[in-house]
């Protein structure tokens, strides 16, 4: 089987805020009753993390589990482990109403990293990103310019962005243009 490649083949910009394609990631959408103990234990099983509270994300290294809606989680895990993870989900949730889908090749993950990364995103999304209103541990689903995107902070100056693979080029160019245009100065420096 041929090797998977990411939508933009690890493309990156090199300004003071860097925008980069972070390569291939395994992603599984899981829908079901998030209060169920089986689904909560799956978070531990699959990525070794506790189940995220509403609007929150649990991150450990490259693995993450995101709260996407009141009945939807998104697991981010190694690309090669998706098939095993899906089998594990099917086994654990046998007989319980749920939906688990491999969306690894339907999504792209980008990273925005640098001193005014927060403003690079804030310029594009109609959400409150002021420090204190949004920070590490939280996840937002909104839009960047004309496309849907989900993003969270993996560090004090780092945003991880997930969007559809089909619009990866647009997302990258949009973020790169926002970064190249420089900071607005609305947020306190270094946040």
């Amino acid at each position: 089987m041929s090797d998977p490649i990411s939508a933009l083949s690890l493309r990156a910009t090199h300004g003071s805020v860097q925008v980069s394609d972070t390569g291939v990631h395994g992603m599984i959408t899981l829908r079901g009753d998030l209060a169920s103990s089986k689904i909560r234990s799956l978070c531990k099983d699959l990525v070794g993390l506790p189940a995220p509270a509403p609007r929150e994300v649990q991150v450990k290294g490259d693995a993450a589990v995101l709260w996407m809606s009141p009945d939807e989680l998104l697991f981010v895990l190694p690309y090669g482990s998706v098939a095993d993870s899906l089998a594990r989900i099917a086994k654990v949730l046998k007989g319980q109403h749920h939906l688990a889908v491999d969306v690894s090749d339907a999504r792209t993950m980008l990273r925005v990293d640098g001193p005014f990364a927060r403003e690079v995103i804030a310029k594009l999304a109609p959400v409150d990103l002021y420090p204190g209103a949004f920070g590490e541990g939280q996840v937002l689903r909104s839009r960047l310019g004309q496309i849907a995107a989900a993003f969270w902070m993996s560090g004090p100056q780092t945003f991880e962005v997930i969007c559809f693979r089909s619009v990866a080029e647009y997302a990258f160019d949009l973020l790169a243009a926002s970064a190249a245009a420089g900071p607005v100065g609305h947020f306190p420096r270094g946040t």
Partner: protein
């Protein structure tokens, strides 16, 4: 610009993250109903200047529907609530009455 509270995400959401779904609390009349009832269901809407009930979908976020009570003239928002209901909850009616005593909308007041 309208900013509504999504009751599913428990978060304030900008209008451009939402999709308008038309009037709320429309009662469906399907096969077997009278022609006039069907016509009313299909075409007749309140279209008020003032208190109004609408369906909205958090399309760029959780993707779920909710209902909103707002004022089409002042753009004031009285509240949002679950779409799994056939009439506005009492808390929403009270919030409207506090600002617009004597309001009515369709069969609600």
């Amino acid at each position: 610009m309208l900013i509504l509270h999504c009751p599913h995400c428990d978060r304030m959401v900008d209008e451009t993250d939402l999709h308008a779904g038309g009037e709320a609390h429309v009662k469906r009349f399907g096969p077997g109903s009278e022609a006039e009832e069907f016509e009313n269901y299909l075409f007749m809407r309140e279209n008020p200047k003032g208190v109004h009930f609408e369906r909205w979908r958090h399309v760029y976020g959780c993707g779920k529907w909710f209902l909103a009570a707002r004022n089409t003239a002042t753009l004031e928002v009285y509240g949002t609530y679950s779409a799994q209901t056939t009439e506005p909850p009492q808390a929403i009616r009270d919030a409207i009455s506090a600002k617009q005593p004597g309001w009515s909308w369709g069969t609600f007041q």
